[in-house]
Amino acid sequence: MSKFISAYYHDEEDLIKGVRQIRNQGIEPADVRTPFPVHGLDKAMGMKRSRLTRVAFAGGAIGGLIGFFFQAWVFTVAYPINFGGKPFFAVPSFMPVTFEMTVLFAAFSMVIAFFIHNKLGPGAKTIIYDEQVTDDRFQILIEADDLDEPEQQRIEKALKEAGAQGIQLTS
């Protein structure tokens, strides 16, 4: 159970400015919480682009291959049946299912990865430090467990200068 210095803004543009400011002073926010996705915030926080897309690609590829080769196997190896004189290896016929499988696997693999990665999920235990965050507040959280007094004050001062409000210690 860790302690945080928490502060909030009322406007996303001020938030971005603030975040830039404190990061220039070498203060890394542990987390920034906003009611909606703030464009430019990821840059301001120096976040890297998410790699979830690769998961999606991998998932899709697997799904597609399974889809196609299962059908091919059924029609040519497992139990070749003559349907209306069509060739056993009827590629055009396999396309729809292959496509659907691709999409299904891509979507689900990615979404599942998303939840695992964010440690979110049904009934996941997370702590909400400020219930306004999902409404109209933009909150900055800074690790405060092993901070000594002066350091802590420096941070709070920096936050104040960065125009943050309601600066306090939360746990």
Binding site: H39, G40, D42, T53, F57, P92, S93, M95
Partner: protein
């Protein structure tokens, strides 16, 4: 911006003239080399149609964004406008082809003396007079609307008058409607009627999707060329990204229509329909599948990632591939019907295409030099410049 006006340099003119020359030479070679009227006519037809299509897509690009009220494309709008200037040229070339005996060597239905039962049923639509009437209607409509759009867009650029802004939308809407119908019927007339017995309801849209992809590719290529010349500096990765997305999307859309048409005909396997693919699979096997590789596989796999859509380094080659790919597509649309199994890609085909390309860029750059490269006073101009997307 200092470089807002395009100067048509000697260099450009010369290059394009040389290309045109190559075209003429290969045409002459084709003529005296005895490649046969059919093959020559077929080449002229496919190239004219191909570049005409690209020109039309240029106009379509402008019009569709005008009515969609999207902002980002304003910065590249002029490219589309300039492309559309090729429409009358294509019209003249096509007219020349048809009036200089192209009809009889292209379309078997023009040989009224020996028509079989099925063709006789179609005489009501497939007869030369009506064919030419339609021809003139199409071009009259396209040229007038292209001219109107261009004029309005220039007027709008004077002081961003809301009146012209709305007028542009109206004219564009009219064009879209007119084009929606004519793009279908024109491809029925000029391409589908080559295999006069065959028919497919999807055909018109299929050809349109092919033109859409090649047109977008050309826009990207021309944009790159302009940037290399030092123009269009305001165009940034964001705009390129969107064009990349178009290329990606349209390629998939084309593939989708290709599959729909092929699969349905393959599935029902009714002779009156399969006849089309029968010849293509039998005598044009390589072309047939190359078509898919170039126009689907390449853009799909390469342009899937975000960055590849944003970097000319990747996007340009793909655009070129797609440009060639849809030329191939046009080839397998026209050749089997007219030339048959003797068809091949030789000097005539390549040279003539180079010639057309030359003519096209000449027209393009010429018209580009006629107006400021960027419609500074367009209401959405600022949007377009400040435009950025984080996906």
């Amino acid at each position: 911006m200092d470089n807002n006006t395009f100067i048509l340099s000697k260099k450009v003119i010369n290059i394009s003239l040389i290309m045109i020359a190559i075209g003429l030479i290969s045409l002459a070679y084709g003529y005296f080399g005895g490649l046969g009227a059919g093959r020559i006519a077929a080449n002229i037809l496919m190239n004219t149609f191909y570049f005409l299509g690209i020109a039309l897509i240029g106009l379509f690009f402008v019009a569709v964004h005008a009515i969609a009220e999207s902002g980002w494309q304003v910065s590249v709008q002029r490219i589309g406008e300039a492309m559309s200037r090729f429409i009358p040229v294509g019209g003249i070339l096509l007219l020349a082809l048809f009036s200089l005996g192209g009809l009889s060597s292209l379309y078997e239905w023009t040989h009224t003396e020996h028509l079989d039962a099925i063709l006789l049923k179609k005489v009501g639509y497939l007869n030369v007079p009506f064919f030419m009437i339609r021809f003139f209607i199409y071009f009259a409509g396209w040229i007038i609307l292209a001219w109107l759009i261009r004029k309005t867009s220039l007027k709008l650029d004077v002081d961003g008058d809301k009146f012209y802004f709305n007028r542009l939308r109206t004219v564009s809407a009219i064009f879209i409607v007119f084009y929606a119908v004519t793009s279908v019927t024109s491809s029925f007339d000029w391409l589908m009627s080559i295999d006069a017995h065959w028919f497919s309801t999807l055909y018109g849209w299929y050809v349109f999707s092919s033109m859409l992809a090649s047109g977008t590719a050309v826009i990207i290529i021309l944009l790159y060329v302009l940037k290399r010349m030092g123009y269009m500096t305001h165009v940034n990765a964001e705009h390129v990204h969107d064009l990349g997305k178009y290329l990606f999307g349209f390629s998939i859309f084309w593939a989708y229509l290709w599959f729909s048409q092929y699969m349905l005909i393959w599935y029902a396997n009714i002779p009156e329909e399969t006849v089309y693919f029968y010849t293509r699979l039998k005598y044009f096997n390589t072309i047939f599948f190359l078509n898919l590789v170039l126009n689907l596989a390449v853009p799909l796999l390469v342009l899937m990632t975000r960055n590849s859509k944003r970097m000319f380094a990747v996007l340009l080659p793909v655009s070129v591939v797609v440009f060639i790919g849809h030329w191939i597509d046009m080839y397998q649309i026209v050749m089997p019907g007219v030339v048959g199994k003797e068809a091949g890609i030789g000097l005539l085909e390549i040279g003539l295409t180079v010639g057309y390309a030359g003519l096209f860029i000449l027209v393009f750059f010429h018209s580009l030099s006629k107006a400021p490269l960027v419609p500074k006073n367009h209401p959405y101009f600022k949007e377009s410049i400040e435009y950025h997307t984080n996906y």
